[in-house]
């Protein structure tokens, strides 16, 4: 039963999810919306507890075993606890203070302030690395080692040249040709890949709903 119950639940919810696409009746749509929003939210809330537990466990192990760079684990744990306390007790709206004061002598450490002024810039810093990685990836991609790489190099060269005024000056129809590369061969390949992807999604969903793919059952599963 430990194995059969999840399979039955998946079968029922899978069929239910599929039929709501064909049945517009509000009774069914309301139940579907409740399933997608409320039930998923509740499951995620439970999952979050497990996630935080895992994060703490991972870093406690690092500290206990004095693994490489273990002092950073203290920073992670302290940051997690401090931001959780500020978030839970300091309130979500900066204009409505919670139990915990989040403004002291003109200095704000409200959770929104921390998010906007610390997490967002740190994320942007990581994102900005992309520019450098793109340059190194482009260098690797554009080395004409074989026919495919040469074609890639030629297409990229035409596209880049077609996107700047110099391209038109060198050869008038170049921008149109660059546009054609994007709109016809590139689009055809993308659509071909997308067809495969959609069928793959369909097949995977069907395998799970029918109970053929059972890896997700974990300890109770097996094929």
């Amino acid at each position: 039963m430990q194995r059969r119950l999840p399979l039955i639940l998946v079968l029922l919810t899978g069929i239910f999810g599929a039929i709501t696409f064909f049945i517009p009746h509000h009774a069914l749509q309301t139940a579907d919306a409740a399933m997608r929003n409320d039930v998923q939210r509740i499951i995620t809330a439970f999952g979050l507890v497990l996630g935080v537990g895992s994060l703490l466990q991972h870093h406690f192990i690092k500290i206990r075993r004095k693994m490489e760079n273990w002092p950073y684990s203290y920073i992670t744990i302290i940051t997690l606890v401090v931001s959780a306390v500020i978030g839970v007790f300091g309130g979500l709206d900066p204009t409505k203070p919670g139990i915990l004061p989040t403004h002291i002598a003109g200095f704000s450490f409200h959770i929104q302030t921390l998010f906007t002024n610390m997490l967002v810039p740190l994320g942007a810093t990581m994102f900005s690395l992309l520019a450098f990685f793109m340059a190194s990836a482009a260098y690797r991609a554009f080395r004409a080692r074989n026919l495919e790489a040469t074609l890639l190099l030629a297409a990229a060269f035409i596209l880049m040249l077609g996107a700047v005024p110099l391209g038109r000056m060198i050869f008038h129809p170049l921008p149109s040709f660059a546009e054609w590369i994007l709109a016809v061969p590139n689009m055809a390949a993308k659509r071909g890949i997308n067809f495969g992807i959609q069928l793959g999604i369909f097949a995977t969903a069907l395998k799970i709903v029918l109970g053929i793919e059972r890896g997700w059952l974990g300890g109770g599963g097996g094929k």
Partner: protein, 363 residues
Amino acid sequence: MALSCIVALLLCSISPPGSVAARDVPNDGGGSIAVTWAPSPESSVTGYYVLRQTKGDTTWDTLRFAGRLAAEYSDGEATDGTDYRYKVIAVAPTESAESAPSAYAASSPQWFNTDTIPALVGTAVLVFMFVYFINRARQGRNLFIRRISGLDAVDEALGRATEMGRPTLYVPGISSIADVATIAALNILGEVAKKTAKFGTPLIVPTADPIVYTVAREMVKESYTTAGRPDAFNQDIVFFVTDAQFAYAAAVDGIMTREKPATNFLIGMFYAEALILAETGAATGAVQIAGTDAVTQLPFFITACDYTLIGEELYAASAYLSREPLLLGAIKGQDYSKAIIVGVIVVATLLALLAGVPVLKYL
């Protein structure tokens, strides 16, 4: 004087909107009535007021003001089973003209959306193909699946990690479990974990979603048990990092540079962090096997990784690795379904082209 006034009145007066009709919006969940009208021909009309009256009431409620080009309005605030009628007032700067009321109409929810019939037929055909090939696989028929070099390289890549005594890093994307690509990534993780358990290679699985973390941990645990190495499993193989995109990228980059895994699997749904992860992995000298159905990230993986599972190969991977007959049957069904779709596209294209030939128009 009197004549000039009559002429002016005739010139200025606007015609009321004609043919005001109300009907239940088809194929919906109820609560909507579509109102249509023939616009007034005069160019001085600036717009239309749509009014509604409930059967039995004497008052008219104004629903909205529609622009002068409007000829329809969908009343989404109707109560199912209640009869309403509508009238439309054309408005000009100095005057207005009111239409005759429409007939009464009531909204009702439908139990089947007839617009989805093609999708239903397509789904039925695809389901039939899958069930047929799964049954063939059940009967023990040999099903040929083409070689996928990225998956053939899994053993080699894991063997390399074992020989070098370095760990294997498996990144299951940053999306949630609701994404089918994540489910496919977890299915592949199950097969990879069986092999790492067999080879005794350390496995690191950082996750970006609490639910993905829970499922991944159970799958890895099951794989270690199936491989006969439950003792080699520890709770710290799979761990939750963060659900913030670039914080996760920073954490995984840190693992790559500190632990120097010999093999990196980047499989699942990725966004802008794809290249950051793949380039860092390439810089550490790891063998990298990537797979995603995010078409925009595929070029980055192809460039920075040794092997890339493109689109549908991601969904075929767990069957390919496990060689489970039933799963292979599903792939075969998938291939034939694709052949049917390609066939339909070719036939439809030919028909569309032939429809342009003048002689064939008479056939």
